[in-house]
Amino acid sequence: MNQQTPQSRRVGLFVTCLVDLFRPSIGFASVKLLEDAGYTVDVPMAQTCCGQPAYNSGDREDTIAIARKTIETFEDYDYIVAPSGSCAGMLKKHYPALFKDGDWAERAKAFSAKVYELTSFLTDVAGVDHVDVVHPGSVTYHDSCSGLRELGIREQPRKLLKSVDGLEIKEMPESDVCCGFGGTFCVKYPDISNRIVEDKTDSIRQSGAKTLLAGDLGCLMNMAGKLQRQGSDVEVRHVAEVLAGMCDTPAIGRRKD
């Protein structure tokens, strides 16, 4: 399963507020993937949110308070892993920018060096190059903006998906174009967001894939919600669910009949 067996490496899982509240199965899939790669996974109870909603609304004060709490909670782990490019990006790239100097600047810097998005952690740090999972069918992958442009995530999830038995990746045109979620953007400017997600669902349909995957639940809920409003039967899941072979749960926006 994995090339190296790291010695008791402790990962603090930053589960993200959306996963915590809306789709815990992504959290469990992440745990499985990390444990299979030979890591010990801890989920500190004191975590809540990475602070992006406050940060991107211009509320620096609350953002800094949340950041301090997050750093405190996680800084003693060997790695901090999140199943989300945007949350990992927030922790890795933006937390250090919040603290100009002094103690917190040091702590934020040390903390951010240990932060990773899930799939890139598996390939780039844990050295995982394949998963022993069967998933027949076609999938298409949406490159979430923060993961792609802040953290350079593009090949890593695809590398792991290619190792899944029976799975075929059908790339969509413009997979790297925004889906229109943008956190509070989709509720502040719903009509513009709608046009952007319409273009995205057109691309998804053009791929001909049965399943849509991505690494960010916000994007996934946005795209799933639109696909379902359009009456599409494309299934939407987080990439971790497929990689962990945990697709017995209903897809996003579906329930067991």
Binding site: V15, V19, D20, L21, F22, R23, P24, G27, V43, M45, Q47, T48, C49, P53, A54, Y55, N56, S57, G58, D59, R60, D62, A65, I66, C145, S146, R149, E150, V177, C178, G180, G182, G183, F185, C186, V187, K188, Y189, P190, D191, I192, S193, N194, R195, I196, V197, D199, M221, N222, A224, G225, K226, Q228, R229, T249, P250, I252, G253, R254, R255
Partner: protein, 477 residues
């Protein structure tokens, strides 16, 4: 230009409902994006040139006063005049005075976004001086009484058929039965009509892509040659440029020229890159007799030393808007003033105030494509966030949004309370999500207007995790 930025949402609604605009904006997506990518790919040194261009602009801004003074000295040495305009009104007055001093009746204009910013055309017309736009796109929208919707391709929002209709409406001296179905026929007609104007003009006004301190030179970059005919035929050449257009030397100019055309249109070099220095020399058979440079501030000097200083690196290539999903959805007019897209969202609040331009830095998903393609690496999303910070501290954002966020932050800062609230709220919400999703949800109208809302799975992850960990502990004992 009349400010319509406060009506951003209404403007967007109208734009989204306009099928012809949607069709026109497809060209922006497929054309400019592909061309820029190809040009960048074909030049191995492209990324290094971006870094170099950024460094040149930063050096210039860090000593902007000195470079402006050095530039002015050189312009004066070469027989030109430099005028300093603090405000839009000052610039208009200076230009009018120059026009009046030579009894100008007609003025030809090369493309200049600054002239839109200072609302020059209406002012000149009101004072008996007729401005004629010569850039084809600008000419077309001048006929329509419109403003540019893109800083490089001003008429990008129009269809060929609209241009034909306008030409027929205005060029009444031409035969009614002429065929204008092919774009080339429209081009030929514009060429003929404008050729006459070039010779009529008493004054020619151009913008400047760059000003060079080493030699007191103004640089324009065009594909049509209109900026050249505008400046070499009339008696007077006026250059209208904002203060941050300066670069120190011709060597620096070489750097930024290489990233400008590639980022804008995917060309290695525009057809005409023209360096103008002063009026005609003794013995020159052509060229203007007078050369004036009007340097405009209009709020830019106040940006120096602030968190918005980096915005002044902008070389007006348009790459950011070409790659922006919001611009693709709503087009340039939605932004309601001179500068659209990401650069407009950062610059406009600086120039007209964040109270009027408040929507612009908020209408972004922070996807980051703009920053990824900016030739001088301006961190556009970061600057939009700075504007949001200013709005937040000045309480300019809507109250409901503020309270909603404050409530969220209240819980997010208190893990125990958060756990308690979510362990009750989420299962309740999921109870109502019978089929796995909501078609409508109170307080979430913005979302459910256009999409279904996936329902939560049941309990929160933390509830489940806590229970499983407890069971594991129990099993171990």
């Amino acid at each position: 230009m009349e400010i319509r930025s406060p009506a951003f949402k209404e403007n967007a609604r109208a734009a989204l409902d306009d099928p012809q605009l949607r069709h026109a904006l497809e060209h922006v997506k497929s054309g400019f994006i592909v061309k820029r990518a190809m040009a960048a790919e074909a030049l191995p040194e492209f990324e290094k040139l971006r870094d170099s261009s950024k460094a040149i602009k930063d050096e210039t801004l860090a000593n902007l006063d000195k470079y402006l003074e050095a530039y002015e000295t050189k312009v004066t040495e070469s027989g030109g005049h430099v005028h300093w305009a603090e405000s839009a009104a000052d610039a208009r007055d200076i230009i009018l005075k120059i026009c009046q001093s030579v009894g100008a009746k007609t003025v030809t204009k090369g493309k200049s976004m600054i002239s839109e910013e200072i609302e020059l055309n209406d002012f000149l017309e009101g004072n008996g001086v007729q401005p004629v736009e010569t850039d084809l796109g600008e000419y077309i929208i001048q006929l329509r009484g419109e403003h540019p919707s893109h800083i490089i391709a001003p008429a990008v929002h129009l269809a060929r058929s609209q241009v034909e209709a306008d030409f027929r409406r205005v060029h009444t001296h031409l035969p009614v039965d002429r065929d204008l179905t092919e774009p080339v026929t429209l081009l030929s007609e514009a060429r003929k009509v404008l050729r006459a104007k070039y010779f009529q003009a008493d004054v020619g006004i151009t913008g400047a892509n760059f000003l060079v301190a080493e030699t007191g030179t103004s640089v324009i970059v065009t594909n049509e040659g209109n900026g050249d005919l505008t400046q070499i035929l009339p008696k007077v050449h006026i250059v209208l440029a904002s203060i941050e257009k300066i670069v120190p030397t011709l060597s620096d100019l070489s750097q930024v020229l290489r990233v400008l055309a590639r980022s804008a249109t995917g060309q290695d070099m525009s057809v005409y890159t023209t360096l103008s220095t002063g009026p005609r020399r003794a013995g020159d058979p052509d060229g203007p007799e007078q050369y004036h440079v009007v340097l405009l501030d209009n709020g830019r000097s106040s940006m120096i030393g602030t968190e918005f200083q980096e915005m002044l690196r902008c070389i007006r290539c348009g790459a950011c808007m070409n790659h922006c999903p919001v611009y693709h959805a709503v087009g340039g007019h939605t932004y309601g003033w001179v500068y659209p897209g990401p650069m407009g969202s950062v610059l406009t609040p600086s120039l007209i105030g964040v109270d009027k331009a408040g929507h612009l830095p908020n209408a972004s998903t922070f996807c980051g494509r703009c920053e990824a393609v900016c030739p001088v690496r301006i961190p556009l999303p970061k600057m939009m966030r700075h504007w949001r910070e200013r709005e937040f501290s000045r309480r300019l954002n809507p109250a409901t949004q503020r309270y909603g966020l404050k409530a969220w932050a209240f819980f997010a800062r208190r893990p125990r309370l958060y756990r308690l609230a979510t362990s009750i709220g989420i299962p309740v919400l999921s109870l109502f999500g019978g089929r796995g999703r909501f078609k409508s949800l109170p307080l979430a109208g913005g979302w459910t207007r256009h999409r279904d809302m996936p329902a939560p799975e049941g309990r929160t992850f933390m509830q489940e995790w806590k229970q499983r960990e407890a069971q594991k502990q129990g099993a171990r004992i």
